[in-house]
Symmetry: C2
Subunit: 478 residues, 2 copies
């Protein structure tokens, strides 16, 4: 197995190598498009299953809207078209003929969905509509990177319609909290929930909420967004309803989404010099069993015990892979299991079997322990939760160690002048887009979010010295 570039030396090279060597994804023949390979797709399936369950538990239903949108639809909402027009892919020919109106491949589905909502919503009795779809979208990005930013990507997009602003606001925050819970309880990635500034807001939203995570190079990554859309799309598509009092109102809206980008977040939040470290609840293989043997007799004995342990673990719902290949040696298998981030590795040789033991390797700590085969299923079941908690604590500790309160422009400039990430910089900002733009131009840092926490300390803007009501989070971002 080729040695990975050290993440400290070149994080970006390390990332690309991990994605390719762990066989998560490949570049496709069309620039910026991606082939998601079985191991990468299995992570996505686990993410989908968990998220879909959370969406349904909060009352949402799945639907599917067409990918092809008449180009004129996007123009109906002024900010929306301004935001997405530069990134559109356009179908001009179908069935051998030039189309009368060009069609765009959905970059997001607000327009096509609100066009249908006009038919489906007449009265307050038709509300709320709580719909989600799993789909591919296309955005013609110039700089692409596997999982993080690709021309086509997979995601889910929720699109809800409500009778009141309050309900829509609550939905926006509820779904942000679903994303926060998913990031913490499934990905073991701590996130900061917050509000985007006007410059970073979704094109067409009144307010964009987000969760922001820190990667191992201390850059920030936006891991999910939930938008309060106000009545913007209802007005653009003329979606009115009869309210309980008999009057006519425009419908209130939200939309929210996460994408295959989360796989990139998983890699960069937990990976190390040896490759991936996957959180147990999303790992395609939670346990890898590697038999060690020399003779055929040993092989039969060891494999028989390995398969027995695997079956016992599977009976408890644990995903297990027995690596019984004869074409590579155990040392290669160990390295590969580490590269692929398998949370628990069980090594099993003839002497272990004699002694009634197994050797258990934890990927999170890189530590081996010999344990008795008796009760191994219960101990591994518990261990997977421990590993999740450990990885989550590690990520919190890393983030906290790389979060700084910054009070002077000199300090801010120095911290942001380094190559790569500068961590999270908690600094005061005067609330204007003008200042935000100047800071970005001078330092490459952007405001990731205005956190939702209660830290309301007043102060003065890091650059302009103008008054500020609270600190915001600056960082260099993906």
């Amino acid at each position: 197995m080729p040695k990975l570039t050290a993440p400290d030396a070149d994080f970006s090279a390390w990332y690309n190598e991990v994605v390719r060597e762990a066989e998560l994804a490949d570049y496709a023949p069309v620039r910026g498009c991606m082939v998601i390979r079985p191991y990468g797709y299995a992570i996505w399936e686990n993410m989908q299953r968990a998220l879909d369950g959370m969406f349904k538990a909060t009352g949402h239903e799945n639907v599917y809207f067409p990918m092809l949108i008449p180009q004129s639809f996007l123009a109906r909402e002024a900010e929306h078209v301004e935001g997405f027009a530069p990134e559109l892919a356009v179908v001009t020919h179908g069935g051998g003929k030039e189309l009368e109106e060009p069609l765009v491949l959905r970059p997001t589905s607000e327009t096509i969905i609100w066009n249908a909502y006009k038919d489906w919503i007449q009265s307050y009795r038709d509300l709320p509509l709580l719909y989600n779809q799993w789909a591919n979208v296309v955005r013609w990005e110039l700089r692409t990177r596997l999982f993080l930013r690709t021309l086509e990507f997979l995601w889910q997009e929720g699109h809800t319609a409500h009778a009141t602003a309050k309900e829509a606001q609550e939905e926006t925050e509820r779904m942000l909290d679903v994303y926060r819970t998913f990031a913490e309880d499934w990905m073991a990635v701590p996130v900061i929930p917050g509000i985007k500034t006007a410059l970073e807001r979704f094109a067409g939203a009144v307010e964009t909420y987000c969760i922001e995570a820190m990667m191992r190079d201390t850059r920030a990554l936006q891991a999910g967004t939930s938008h309060f859309l106000g009545q913007n799309f209802a007005k653009a598509f003329d979606v009115q309803f009869q309210n309980e009092q008999g009057g006519l109102d425009y419908v209130w809206a939200t939309s929210w989404g996460v994408s295959t980008r989360l796989i990139g977040a998983l890699i960069m939040a937990h990976g190390d010099a040896n490759g991936l470290r996957l959180p147990p609840r999303l790992a395609p293989h939670q346990v890898g069993i590697i038999p060690i043997y020399k003779t055929d007799d040993q092989r039969n004995g060891v494999l028989s015990v390995a398969n027995q342990i695997a079956d016992d673990l599977r009976a408890k719902g644990i995903r297990v892979k027995v690596d019984d290949r004869d074409t590579v040696r155990p040392g290669f298998k160990f390295n590969e299991a580490e590269l692929r981030g398998i949370p628990v590795r069980i090594e099993l040789g003839p002497r272990d079997i004699e002694q009634g033991n197994v050797v258990v390797f934890r990927r999170d700590l890189g530590e081996k322990e010999t344990m008795s085969r008796d009760g191994v299923v219960e101990r591994i079941t518990a261990l997977l939760d421990v590993i999740h908690a450990t990885m989550f604590r590690q990520a919190i500790a890393f983030r906290d160690a790389n979060t700084h309160r910054v009070d002077t422009w000199d300090d801010f400039k120095e911290r942001t002048s380094v190559e790569g990430g500068c961590g999270f910089l908690l600094a005061h900002w005067d609330g204007t887009s003008e200042t935000e733009t100047r800071i970005n131009e001078e330092t490459k840092a952007t405001i990731r979010c205005i956190p939702l926490d209660d830290d309301r300390e007043e102060g003065t803007d890091i650059l302009t010295g103008k008054p500020s009501k609270r600190r915001v989070i600056f960082a260099k971002a993906y």
Copy 2:
């Protein structure tokens, strides 16, 4: 609720009304595209879950390949491009610029996948690759109908690579059998497995296997196909591997798919004058509970028992909907539950509760039965299997009653001269595309398949009188 057109009077109008009134799908603003609404999508999700489980149980893994394919890729396999070129949608602009090479939206993914297989397959050790993807595809069809034929549709496409022709042939037949099992055990639709004639073969395949079902208007519907692709795509994309003897061979291939068309099949195989009849294993709601009450007191009492029964059923894994709307009357709810094809309806009023009974309506037979509330969960669990078996038997009986052995050209012409379906006509064919085309031109009937069964009776072609080794199935088809 508007009354449906009688299926006997105008099957096509009945179909469209059922799809719209049961809120399965709507037409989208782009001609021939479809919005799949929550009730329709829930059927698709149940289909996906069952099929995905069967694919994984037969060793397949999921992947995702890009939707955008360089136009030149399709031209690499001569028959493939000839078959698909007339149906392509073409992206000519991206990010505000004209593209150097136009991109097509995948009509199917053999080309983009075999382009990647070239990188992934070097040795017999890399084989087999058993991959599947769930995706949207686009085919610029002229005549469209919701679910049956739309410009964009959802499907799964399996693409496997093998070291020998024998293995690929076995895989082709294995996946056909998975589809047959799914049609019978989940959809309650009997199908005839067979081989397509050269004229109906997938563009690029050596042999296309299919399952053919009969709809209630006695037309045929192709419900799934499994292709033995030989070495055609391996040669087109130069995918060779080192075999066990050290020589170089081209890789052998299969592909196989089913689509949202199956929802159309479900509607047309089981529906009746009152709407959908859904087979229990795929129904979004297997049981609908409709409370009957006048006063608020009655409402509380009835709903409390209804919710208790619902919880008890859900604990057994049964999907239940309690229709507790106050805005419509029970009679409306009964009709709606029938329109939506809910297999079992439980009616529950104050007198039923007093007497410890429930009224159970079976959608398959249209019959009501009063049963004791004691043991109702066990009886309904068993009843769902009985309903599946009954619907399957009904469909077999209908198909058999509309299958005819035809031995003279006069009889063949008369049977096919009716408006609409002519059933399955078992007739002899001389094996030439020329005769097949002539029969089609004169009668609109096509050869649906050469069945895989053992009915090897010899005879003479229905039109030409030339010798024939066995009967094939002619029908008018969707």
